[in-house]
């Protein structure tokens, strides 16, 4: 007897936890570097928005299915 096929998840493949967490991590890292760099004030100005977006995205996508 063959094993029953695993139920396919309807969750889109691109929105799985792994890749989305990676994107959020890159955004957080970028925001962090922007906040503490010493080259351009404009990067510093937009650092918090980037950091906040990355952190909120991380919190949300960490609940996504694997």
């Amino acid at each position: 007897m063959t094993a029953p096929a695993a139920k396919r998840s309807s969750w889109p493949r691109w929105a799985r936890r792994g890749p989305m967490e990676n994107i959020a991590t890159v955004i957080i890292g970028l925001g962090f570097l922007m906040l503490f760099q010493s080259f351009a004030e404009i990067l510093y100005t937009y650092s918090f928005v980037t950091l906040l977006a990355g952190t909120l995205m991380f919190i949300v996508v960490s609940k996504f299915p694997e």
Partner: protein, 322 residues
């Protein structure tokens, strides 16, 4: 199983069921077991909410206002995102962020390198290693206030031991070694003190990591004739890496908030050379009394540390799962 054995077991089960007391919960005012459990943990949850969550929510609320703690009766006006806009376009605060980054980077690099090296040496289990472990741990046990004052004396150019030791090896006159008042040396003076105080902490965590590596892995490597260098790179370092990362995470978060040592040693000076973010925050909050503004600044720092911790925990999980 025979019928006699089955009936014996049945009777034993019934006797056990009779002797089991009725759940405590049902006797205490009709509460369920779950209810009693919640009753026990409720004080802790209330305390956590009062100490951690409420101040955070309150600070977020204040960050959108012009509230000043020294004028409690003044009208509080909602200024929207103005506090955040001012912080993120202020070049002095930007400089304080760079100073913080410089401080965090060098303390973590030095503490990790020295801490891991010390742990690796202590793990050799030489004669008297327990004694030396205790001696190395002493700075970590001292109060930052004591350490700050103690190092201020050590850094004194006239009477300080540090200046004399450096002078002995370099030939520079001790009076020229102005560790706390020189623009060039003051940031390094703080890095040295923090490294002296917290390297033992990193060492302790790394030591736990090194002690957790089973001996049979090294024995197998010996059988394979792996050199000491190869054993270090292929066994010691990868297996101790989660512990090293944990130490870096703890120290990183702590050093972003570093206040006491800087305040005691330099107070942010000379000029604003050692003015880390927490010193700027304290000046805004308790010298200029711009509570709303400083709340917004605190929230920015919180998000930065929280974001970094997220990345770090993810990296740690990846390393652990390897």
């Amino acid at each position: 199983m025979t019928e006699t054995n089955a009936s014996l077991l049945d009777r034993a089960a019934q006797a056990a069921a009779r002797s089991t007391p009725e759940p405590v919960a049902r006797r205490v005012r009709g509460l369920s077991d779950k209810g009693v459990a919640w009753l026990f943990i409720a004080p802790t949850i209330v305390l956590l909410l009062a100490i951690n969550i409420f101040p955070l929510i309150w600070a977020i609320r204040l960050s959108f206002t012009n509230y000043r703690a020294n004028r409690p009766n003044a009208e509080v006006v909602n200024v929207g995102l103005d506090n955040y806009r001012r912080i993120l376009t202020d070049s002095d605060i930007w400089f304080a962020m760079q100073t913080t980054a410089h401080f965090v980077f060098w303390t973590i690099v030095l503490q990790t390198l020295i801490g891991f090296t010390l742990a690796w040496l202590i793990d050799r289990k030489f004669r008297g290693h327990a004694f030396w472990t205790t001696i190395i741990l002493v700075p970590m046990m001292l109060s930052p206030a004591v350490v700050g004052n103690f190092w201020r004396f050590l850094y004194e150019p006239q009477i300080g031991l540090f200046a004399y030791v450096v002078s002995f090896f370099s030939g520079i006159p001790p009076t020229d070694i102005q560790m706390l008042s020189s623009v060039r040396l003051a940031p390094w003076a703080i890095v040295i003190v923090d490294t002296w105080m917290w390297t033992p902490y990193v060492m302790l965590i790394c030591l736990a990591g090194l002690r957790s590596i089973p001996d049979y892995i090294y024995e197998a490597a010996e059988v394979d004739r792996a050199s000491n260098w190869r054993q270090f790179w292929s066994i010691t370092l990868p297996m101790a890496l989660p512990f090293i990362m944990l130490a870096v995470l703890f120290r990183g978060i702590e050093n972003f908030k570093m206040f006491d040592m800087v305040n005691l040693l330099t107070g942010g000076g000379p000029g604003s050379t050692t003015e880390v973010a927490s010193i700027t925050l304290k000046r805004e909050a308790f010298e200029k009394w711009r509570t709303g503004f400083s709340s917004a600044f605190a929230i920015i720092l919180f998000v930065a540390v929280f974001g970094l911790a997220n990345i770090y925990v993810k990296a740690l999980n990846r390393v652990k799962s390897r």
